[in-house]
């Protein structure tokens, strides 16, 4: 009987894990999937959660009647924080990581409470998460190799954040004349301020806001391109725009302005950092909105 329960448990676990992989890597972007992957990321998003965190609610349901007062407080606080993150913190994946260590502890604690502490159980409970974790990591790094059972390439450097985006060449150039004494419009790149002595007004293309000592203002909204040119050159005294190529596409007017009225003067070999000179050659005689 115990063997049957154990085998059924393992089969349910494998089936559940397979469904979880499908949810994460072959999602159809439905509303339910969005809630599971964003709001309930702590339990269902494999990038942000412990690989077996989805089993935690089941263990809690199995055990809550046997909770003592400390365990009750533990899980009430844990669930309250999980609820807070689910409701208010879903927009940022980092918030669900806040209680990830507590979630991992809770899993093993509840497993230990519900299952007998025999060597075979301990071995299975220690080994299975590592196995699922390995497949998850291999799939994350090399999705095509998911079906390759004997993939021994575990490259931590590739798994970690890529460090190839530090544009030290462009920062070095900006420290020299003529850039070092000029004012820039900086498209949400704080490295500009940290690594160069230049001045730059902070701008964020998707919400079209630039920031001054009076707060923020919209740049393109309710302005023609000529008026935008005037704001940049006369009001803000900007000669250059420092941006990331991938950020340009987040605002079509911004991208269009760069293509029509600016000249690309610097690019970085690392990442896609760009410096545009606000030349405005084509501004004279035109009146575009």
């Amino acid at each position: 009987m115990r063997k049957k329960i154990l085998i059924s448990g393992i089969l349910i676990l494998v089936a559940g894990q397979y469904l979880l992989f499908l949810l994460n890597y072959h999602s159809k972007d439905s509303a339910v999937e969005s809630i599971l992957l964003n709001n309930l990321a702590l339990f269902f998003n494999l990038k942000n959660s412990f690989v077996l965190a989805w089993t935690l609610p089941f263990f809690v349901l199995l055990t809550f009647r046997r909770f003592d007062s400390v365990e009750f407080v533990f899980f009430m606080v844990f669930l309250s924080i999980a609820l807070l993150v689910a409701i208010r913190g879903a927009f940022n994946f980092r918030y669900s990581l806040t209680i990830l260590p507590i979630c991992i502890f809770a899993f093993f604690y509840l497993v230990n409470k519900n299952l007998p502490a025999s060597p075979s159980i301990i071995f299975i409970v220690s080994f299975i998460p590592l196995l699922f974790l390995y497949f998850q990591m291999v799939y994350t790094v090399q999705p095509d190799s998911f079906n390759k059972w004997l993939s021994f390439r575990l490259n931590i450097q590739r798994y970690s954040y890529s460090r190839s985006f530090y544009p030290h060449d462009i920062y070095l150039a900006l420290q020299q004349p003529p850039y070092s004494s000029q004012v820039f419009l900086v498209n949400n790149l704080p490295g500009f301020y940290y690594y160069t002595p230049c001045k730059g007004y902070y701008y964020w293309a998707p919400n079209d806001r630039y920031f001054t000592n009076h707060g923020y203002e919209n740049l393109f909204e309710n302005r023609t391109d000529m008026e935008v040119y005037s704001v940049l050159t006369n009001k803000l005294n900007c000669k250059y725009i420092f941006t990331l190529h991938s950020y340009n596409k987040l605002n079509t007017r911004f991208e269009s302005f760069l293509n029509k009225y600016c000249t690309l003067v610097l690019t970085s070999r690392y990442g896609d950092y760009e410096v545009y000179g606000i030349t405005g050659y084509r501004v004279i005689g035109e009146n575009h909105k």
């Binding site: 007062s69 409970v125 490295g191």
Partner: protein, 350 residues
């Protein structure tokens, strides 16, 4: 070479001396076990440095850099004078707990050894990475910029628009400045020694991250050492956690304080320790001072603790009020002042 020497002295003072002084104070409260006091003291010591700079910059801004370092060191010396009698008992208790490892079975010892090797390997790779790669993460660069700004002027002002005139940078962050102020601590020391470095600031991701792994390993070890090994692998290799522990960010620092506050809350509930409740209030305040999410988590913890702890109502309310005052003093008060006299905090439309 000078940079590494200064970094070594910084780590020696904070990681060893200040850590040990705070550990003896935690030992006083008779809440945590001896080894846990040594462990939890690290993020608490860091947070206290950030908190002290916060109050010093507000109350006595504009003084020379060495004054602030001197006051912080003086503070820890005073703490030491009130706690030096506990050093030997603490060390004795730690040695006894480590000797207890001898009583474990061979299998458990093997798993403890494997866990230890894994943590050392992870720590080595993290520290090596921190020495090689510069600050690149968007948010962390903003914190580093503000760290330099606070240290340059040796002041912290509540302003509606945090616009820096020297480079036109506008700081959009709304969290309390604990993390940037730790960067300011390094910058103040840099000013004294005439060096330029942000190595200590980079290591503020690494060391709290290692702390989180150690805490998880320690508590899972109490269930089963095999789970400890699996648990730290699961934590370290979770994609986003791995990304954040390698890429410099505030998260490891704030999560380390969340862990300490959570554990403190559980101990207070279990031991029904009145002084422990006050300590929890202060640590929850430090947690709030690190990040806005810490503030809300602290309030959640307060709520459940006061609701469920089995004390007479009067005792609950009186201790709760004092603990809440300490919660505010520990850093949560920043959000009240910022809402009224500063940026407007969450009420600001960004």
């Amino acid at each position: 070479m000078k940079i590494y020497l200064v970094l070594f002295v910084e780590l020696l003072f904070i990681g060893v001396i200040f850590n040990f002084i705070i550990a003896t104070w935690l030992f006083r409260f008779k809440l945590f076990k001896a080894f846990e006091c040594l462990l939890y003291a690290f993020p608490v010591a860091l947070a206290i440095i950030g908190l002290m700079l916060y109050y010093l910059f507000i109350i006595a801004g504009g003084l020379p850099s060495w004054v602030y370092i001197f006051v912080i060191c003086l503070f820890f010396i005073i703490l030491y004078l009130f706690s030096y009698r506990l050093h030997i008992p603490l060390l004795h208790a730690v040695v006894l707990s480590l000797k207890g490892l001898n009583n474990k079975s061979a299998k458990k010892k093997i798993f403890i050894l494997i866990t230890g090797i894994l943590i050392i390997w992870m720590a080595y790779d993290l520290v090596r990475s921190a020495f090689i790669y510069p600050l690149m993460n968007h948010d962390c660069l903003e914190y580093a910029l503000m760290a330099k700004h606070y240290a340059l002027h040796c002041s912290f002002d509540f302003v509606k628009h945090p616009f820096i005139e020297s480079n036109y940078f506008y700081y959009v962050g709304l969290h309390a400045p604990a993390f940037p102020l730790l960067g300011s601590f390094e910058q103040l020391i840099n000013q004294i020694f005439g060096i330029q470095s942000d190595l200590f600031f980079r290591l503020l991701t690494v060391f709290p991250g290692i702390f989180i792994l150690l805490v998880l390993a320690y508590h899972l070890n109490s269930i089963n050492p095999a789970y400890s090994m699996t648990g730290i692998c699961a934590l370290f290799f979770t994609g986003s956690f791995n990304y954040l522990i390698y890429d410099y960010h505030i998260d490891m620092y704030r999560i380390s304080l969340v862990c300490v506050a959570f554990i403190c809350m559980l101990y207070v509930f279990h031991l029904k320790n009145y002084n422990g409740f006050l300590l929890f209030g202060f640590i929850a305040g430090l947690q709030a001072h690190a990040h806005t999410l810490g503030l809300f988590i602290g309030l959640i913890e307060f709520f459940w603790l006061i609701l469920l702890i089995r004390w007479p109502l009067r005792n609950k309310l009186v201790t709760g009020i004092f603990a809440f005052i300490l919660f505010l003093a520990g850093g949560a008060v920043h959000y009240i002042i910022d809402s009224i006299a500063g940026t407007g905090w969450l009420f600001k439309l960004i």
